[in-house]
Symmetry: C2
Subunit: 391 residues, 2 copies
Amino acid sequence: MTKLVKPHGGGPLKPLLLTGVARDTELQRASSLPLIPVSSREKGDLLMLGIGSFTPLDGFMHHDDWRSVCDNYTLANGVFWPIPITLSTTKTRADGISINSEIALVDPDNSSDILATMRVTGKYMIDKAHECKAVFRTTDPEHPGVRMVMEQADENLSGPVKVLSQGGFPEKYGAMYMSPAQTRATFDANGWATVAAFQTRNPMHRSHEYLAKVAIEVCDGVLVHSLLGNLKAGDIPADVRTKAIAVLIEKYFVQKTVVQSGYPLDMRYAGPREALLHALFRQNYGCSHLIVGRDHAGVGSYYGPFDAHAIFDEIPRGALETKPIKMGLTFWCHRCAGMSSGRTCPHDVKDQLQVSGTQLRKWLSEGHPVPAEFSRPEVLEVLRAYYAKLE
Amino acid sequence: MTKLVKPHGGGPLKPLLLTGVARDTELQRASSLPLIPVSSREKGDLLMLGIGSFTPLDGFMHHDDWRSVCDNYTLANGVFWPIPITLSTTKTRADGISINSEIALVDPDNSSDILATMRVTGKYMIDKAHECKAVFRTTDPEHPGVRMVMEQADENLSGPVKVLSQGGFPEKYGAMYMSPAQTRATFDANGWATVAAFQTRNPMHRSHEYLAKVAIEVCDGVLVHSLLGNLKAGDIPADVRTKAIAVLIEKYFVQKTVVQSGYPLDMRYAGPREALLHALFRQNYGCSHLIVGRDHAGVGSYYGPFDAHAIFDEIPRGALETKPIKMGLTFWCHRCAGMSSGRTCPHDVKDQLQVSGTQLRKWLSEGHPVPAEFSRPEVLEVLRAYYAKLE
């Protein structure tokens, strides 16, 4: 019997991906349906729906769900949900689709790749500024999440989907790419009850290793869970990042205390609301905890550094089974002679070794040495090779 | 409103200490009662009863409680309790005491110090081997806890107590000596909800600092809670220990993340069962968690190193609100270049700096240098001064 947290919503995992003959038949049928291209963000959402990460959703949200998520953090049926999962298309395209008809959703970069079929049971316009204010706490068009919403097409289509593609992720990442059913099976095989997810879109330096190891001290294991969808320009690509993380795990972690995997979502940079979504889908992956660091899923200075901690105390008790492990800024402190955080190191900031991403990129691309207290030599070697190739 | 765990048993704290006029009157009355000396262990239990640490007990256990605690880990009324809290006296003395009469309990070292009065509502003989097998998992007379039970007098007296003394602890330790009501008020003033108790009967070196700091990363605060009762010969006395801990806290912890206090109990060395008692009374002090290390409350090799972890999974869900933070052996690892544990360091034991108590005592009394990775210089200074005085 599993000792893991239950999937979100109280029922079993709900993967919407068809496989085998069912998939082939649907794909055949889909080729005669109107083709609707989706955005990169919508593709990520579809892939998440496919593998069951967005359990218990059936597809893209209806208008009443959209409004309730914005205003009450719940679907119209009362189930907790922090961020709208919606599909948009142009008014012209929408006008050509009648209610209860079916459409095929295609890859934005390759319209011959049919990602899913969808029965359109709703069409609606939204107040985009209302969504942005609710989800991002701002309507500033400089905010990358706001920009995504503002630039999306005018009309939303809603209804249940049948997912037909995994977007190439299993081929690209192999055994590292796992569905919620697969991470749960792995955790069960390890006998784990409590698992902390470590959300990352960066390579792991010693500060991240420390976060993961604190979690290992208090949980049965850690899931290092990399975002494999799109992120900002200048970020380290997912394949380099996962390689750097793999070498860290191999050299500095105890076997069977950590699992590395990834998920296909794009970043929305919604800060606190996205932290809640991160916890929600980690519950589906079988994680009892989510490590929530400083400015989790934030961008620029739109959110206070601990807004994503506070929001977990503001949602109703029982909304999520997955709980935050709230951590501050972490760093090597010369006076502590060890890894510390704002909660455990009382010393002056000048004793604390902090290296910005910009500084590190500069050092690495110039071949400058990087302190071993900041990052493991094996990790730096992977990153140096990447920057050398960039030249 | 407090956000702390509730006291054990579901009701309010139940301190049995009389104060002011009530105490003076009772003390007056007590002087005419039969005087019964108690053992050092029984004195510690009385002081714990006095300040409410053993809530919801009313006094020393009756025969049906004793049996149920040994066999079922509960009082006769079903409330969880892992170790008998009993009073013994000689058969001759017991024969002179009639049921429902009152007695005065006096300090073993000073019979003019009346610790408590007690209405004797029960007298019974116990199967000492049965208690030892249940509580200590052994009847080996070399086990110090077994020896205590085997050497106690033949008959047990049970009944409610009125406690009249604090055994000199408030005078000796000042503000550091706190009742459960006092630690709760302190935690409430700090706004804490989750507090981990760090049980110690030793000075804190870096391995202990690491345990406490892991707890601070995941809880609102830590209670460093020193046993101030009697322990084995050769251990560092409580006043030296608390001084060494105070300097560590001052130099290496963030203010308002840690409270140092102590409690008047003697060690029983009952390993897993004592870990449960440690968690139980920490719940009364307001602690949501107890750090349970390797061989917690063990002695010699009577218990497996993680028996005290496992027992928390064997008791009924809901028996205790206070949960364990299970930690392994902790140490500095030269390859990790940091503090680690068996769960977070994959390296060879030869890379792990481990110093035995015997080795440390030898180094300190010989003025030999001690690695800074093992203990903070400020702590070593306090210990060196103590050993120098011993010479």
